[in-house]
Amino acid sequence: MKKIEAIIKPFKLDDVKEALKEIDIKGMTLTDVKGYGRQKGHKEIYRGAEYVVDFIPKVKLELIVETSQCDKVVECIRQAAVTGKIGDGKIFVLPVEEAVRIRTGEKGNEAV
């Protein structure tokens, strides 16, 4: 099992969700996050007032998939989330040791 964490542009969320639905991924955890990477924050000045945008709003998706599916899902997210411009985000893949469905006690792939 793998955990996929994707940080994407907020407006791309619907596209990514749609795309994942098409390949039959039904569950995920979403968080509104802020941060910065290569797309640095910036300063805007308007009418003398300074607006510092130091952290840029993004959406974080987290989902656990069977290892065999992982590449497909990553590629699916990438294609749906790309605009070709700076700040499109990143995808991380992490190994997962165990998963348990609380209701039934099922473990491993069954629980994903």
């Binding site: 802020k34 009418r47 790309v82 070709g84 700040g87």
Partner: protein, 844 residues
């Protein structure tokens, strides 16, 4: 025994199902339990002497809800202590065995007194004490003891305690989670408030029950009846809630709301769900209770002189005075003639921060019929009303008072439809009316928090009014923004707003969700998108108002709705869009700028009166300096002899072409074709047509082959362009035969952005705007413009933008008859034609 009690409870449930509701059911339930308990107690006869079994609390009042606690006190004389065990066994055990919730106490008189000193609630519970069985003497001793110890001479203390607990209870049960799912017993306006009032009336004035309160003049008849029926309904709801939850549960959770609405037969109607209509009733009853009990406690407070005013009495204006720290209408007769005084009261309250006296609020409520159409259109009334909105402060207290007095809905009748209106979802925690009042308060708060943006709003009252009315179209089904925009136009007219102010408020109400939607769902890095938004919003003032309204609306929806994350997106949207709007205007009023430009140009022209400056369109003048425009006008003279004029310049590596010609259909496509033939790629272009039919095109190009400006064969280019414009050049065949340029355009990133065509008739009043999004491909522009020409579309203005891998071309055009492209079939045909043309290039 158990089975007997169970059977009784079943009997109770069937009575409920037969429709016995409200107080009757409570009495019936009490009677069932009474007989059972008394029977058990009297069965152990030897225990009877020196003991009394007392019902206290709700049970003592004979208000036993289906799953309420049965609160019992077994009172005994110390001499019979050894006989307690059989009595306790006889009375409590069967109740426990039956699984009932029993609140029990076994005490002597002294122990009761001790306990009463420590526990205010026990004092209060004793007010409802009722002898079930046993020694009446002992019971009377208890009642007298409590009367002497806690009531006589200590009324003020009692009231203080009552007020303190009431305040604390309202605070903890007024929290967010109780707004959506009110607590029928403890929330503000719940059953506990009713009880608190009745207890207090009993202790302070010796009045028992609502009718004696009415007789004593504490309530008038209509208030008493409204209050009574609200109580009945709340009791009925609590009964229903106990039955559907199957336990002692007094909070109206979501799932119970639906179930009880169904049980009480609330059907969907006028765009509202059954459950929404039910909850509207619930909130309405709770409001009646809240307002009546508030008035009552204010009155008692005043009578006993608990809260001492720190403000000096003074006259605010004729008929309105401050007395004892509250605002009074001192001349109700004057208000009959000058109805606007009713509104001035609230303006004064907002201004001074003092509450309006409850008797004055009743006076207002009694005079609502004075609010006729004439008054609703009165300027004085409107001015006072705007004063209230502007001075509301960070909490909508004054507006709430105005709503509760009925004045708000009498003044703006459309508001009545929103009172207590609930939306059945977890998102909207407030009813629509309180959400709207809250929005006004949030706007007032933004005045402090966003001073820079707020200060750009020219007339804040319009913004506040928009805050108050943005959801006015709710509860009728359909799109509430659109419905609201229609209503607010009428309201604005009544309030005497100017025409442009009415347009602004209609815009704000209609678009109040626009920013929230756009900033979350669209790419803020997409300049074409930002530009479209800017064009739709049209002015920095409107943008500022919409921005502030969006924040206030969101904050007033619930604390979980607004967060910094959304704030950051919204601010980014605002800053990007405002810069677009401000570059367009350069912070100077456009009309003044235009005037200045025309005057400057007239200077440059000198005595040359041949050319009519009026034929220069505004957007053309805005895009060029007067000097540039003057040079164009001079070139224009040469056009009378030539058909075409080309002027190319190299500005620090940016190659700029000025092409002027008499406009004709297809001109742009021939220019684009010739550019492609000469390996010139368009980076950006501005296309204008003067009123006299002169086309002025300024096109920035780069060469996909030659590196240096000098290497480019401009002479042949000009010759070919002449031929092309005069229809002497076979562009298609030449382009087909031409070998593709060696050096491909550098921005051919390989990923799938889909080609898109958007046809927009909304943004511009005059033109149909056609936007084409596609990958950057050579010859693309030629294909697009040729296709448009084939459809007979005349292009009046074009903006060509390339960035990264995507091309966004925007054309302002009209059809062959000089009209917008309205016909949907034709639009579809154009869309398909363009998509085909764009695709066609990529195949090549």
């Amino acid at each position: 025994m158990n089975s007997e009690l169970r059977a009784r409870r079943n009997a109770l449930e069937s009575l409920w199902q037969q429709g016995l509701s409200g107080k009757m059911l409570l009495r019936e339930h009490t009677r069932l339990v009474d007989t059972h308990i008394a029977h058990n107690f009297e069965n152990c006869l030897d225990a009877k002497n020196g003991m009394a079994l007392v019902a206290v609390g709700g049970y003592g009042r004979k208000e036993l809800f289906p799953f309420s606690d049965i609160d019992l006190l077994l009172l005994y004389e110390p001499s019979v202590e050894n006989k307690l065990t059989p009595a306790v066994e006889a009375v409590f055990y069967p109740l426990w065995d039956a699984g009932l919730e029993v609140g029990h106490a076994v005490r002597t008189l002294d122990a009761c007194l001790e306990h009463g000193k420590k526990d205010f609630f026990f004092q209060v519970a004793m007010l409802d004490a009722r002898l079930l069985a046993g020694s009446i003497d002992l019971f009377n001793q208890l009642v007298n003891l409590f009367q002497q110890s806690f009531v006589e001479g200590r009324r003020r203390e009692f009231l203080n305690n009552m007020l303190k607990h009431r305040k604390r209870r309202h605070k903890s049960f007024g929290m967010q989670n109780y707004l959506l799912e009110p607590h029928i017993k403890e929330s503000r306006g719940g059953l506990r408030d009713i009880q608190a009032m009745i207890w207090t009336a009993q202790v302070i004035f010796g009045l028992h029950g609502l009718s004696s309160m009415e007789n004593a003049g504490l309530l008038n008849n209509s208030e008493r009846r409204r209050f009574d029926s609200a109580c009945d309904e709340l009791i009925r709801i609590r009964n229903g809630l106990h039955f559907v939850s199957g336990r002692k549960n007094d909070q109206l959770y979501f799932e119970h709301q639906e179930e009880i609405a169904k049980l009480f037969d609330f059907k969907p109607s006028k765009g509202l769900l059954g459950v929404e209509r039910f909850m509207r009733d619930v909130y309405g009853h709770m409001k009646t209770v809240a307002v009546t009990t508030d008035f009552f406690f204010e009155h008692v407070d005043e009578v006993l002189g608990i809260t001492l005013p720190t403000i000096k009495d003074r006259k605010l204006e004729k008929g309105i005075e401050i007395r004892h720290g509250r605002i009074h209408l001192t001349d109700p007769g004057l208000a009959e003639k000058k109805v606007y005084l009713l509104m001035r009261l609230f303006a004064r309250a907002a201004d001074t921060g003092l509450p309006i006296h409850h008797r004055t609020l009743r006076l207002v409520n009694d005079r609502l019929l004075l609010l006729n159409d004439k008054v609703r259109c009165s300027r004085r009334m409107a001015n006072a009303f705007f004063d209230v909105l502007k001075k509301t402060g960070e909490r909508p207290t004054v507006l709430e008072a105005m709503l509760e007095s009925g004045l708000l809905s009498a003044y703006i009748p459309e508001f009545a439809d929103l009172e207590s209106l609930a939306q059945h979802d977890v998102y909207h925690v407030y009813t629509v009316d309180s959400h709207l009042l809250q929005t006004v308060a949030e706007l007032n708060r933004l005045r402090e928090e966003e001073p820079n943006i707020f200060s750009t709003v020219p007339s804040p009252e319009i913004l506040f009014l928009a805050g108050l009315l943005h959801d006015i179209g709710k509860g009728q089904g359909g799109d509430h923004s659109k419905l609201g925009a229609e209503l607010v136009g009428l309201i604005g007219k009544r309030l005497g707003l100017k025409k442009d102010e009415i347009q602004t408020i209609i815009f704000l109400v209609r678009e109040h969700l626009f920013l929230a939607h756009m900033s979350m769902r669209r790419d803020l890095g997409d300049d074409a998108f930002i530009r479209r938004c800017a064009e739709k919003i049209a002015s920095p003032d409107r943008l500022a108002m919409l921005y502030l309204l969006t924040i206030a609306d969101s904050k007033a929806t619930g604390p979980t709705v607004w967060n910094e994350w959304k704030g950051a997106l919204l601010l980014e949207f605002y800053l990007k869009t405002v810069q677009y709007l401000d570059t367009d205007r350069n912070n100077v009023d456009t009309s003044r700028k235009m005037e200045w430009k025309r005057a400057k140009l007239a200077d440059l022209m000198g005595d040359n009166k041949v050319f009519d400056l009026k034929s220069l369109p505004d957007d053309y003048l805005l895009s060029f300096t007067p000097e540039e425009a003057y040079s164009h006008i001079r070139y224009r003279k040469e056009l009378d002899e030539k058909k075409l004029l080309v002027n190319s310049t190299d500005l620090d590596g940016k190659w700029s072409l000025l092409i002027m010609a008499r406009d004709r259909r297809g001109l742009l496509s021939r220019i684009c074709g010739t550019l492609a033939l000469h390996n010139l790629e368009v980076r950006s272009a501005q296309i204008f047509t003067w009123a006299d039919g002169t086309a002025v095109d300024v096109i920035d190009v780069i060469s996909v082959v030659s590196m240096e400006y000098e290497d480019q064969d401009w002479e042949t280019f000009e010759k070919d362009l002449h031929l092309a414009v005069n229809l002497r050049l076979g562009l298609d065949y030449r382009l087909g035969r031409k070998t593709a340029p060696m050096k491909k355009s550098p921005h051919c990133l390989n990923h799938a952005t889909e080609d898109r065509v958007v046809i927009d008739n909304e943004t511009s009043d005059t033109y149909t705007i056609i936007e084409i999004f596609s990958k950057d491909r050579f010859e693309l522009l030629y294909r697009i413009t040729k296709t448009l020409a084939d459809f007979g579309i005349n292009i009046f203005r074009a903006i060509i933008g390339c960035k990264a891998d995507q091309v966004v071309d925007v054309f302002y055009g009209l059809d062959d008859d000089g009209r917008k492209v309205i016909d949907p079939d034709f639009q579809e045909e154009i869309r398909r034609g363009l998509l085909y043309a764009v695709k066609d290039v990529s195949k090549k």
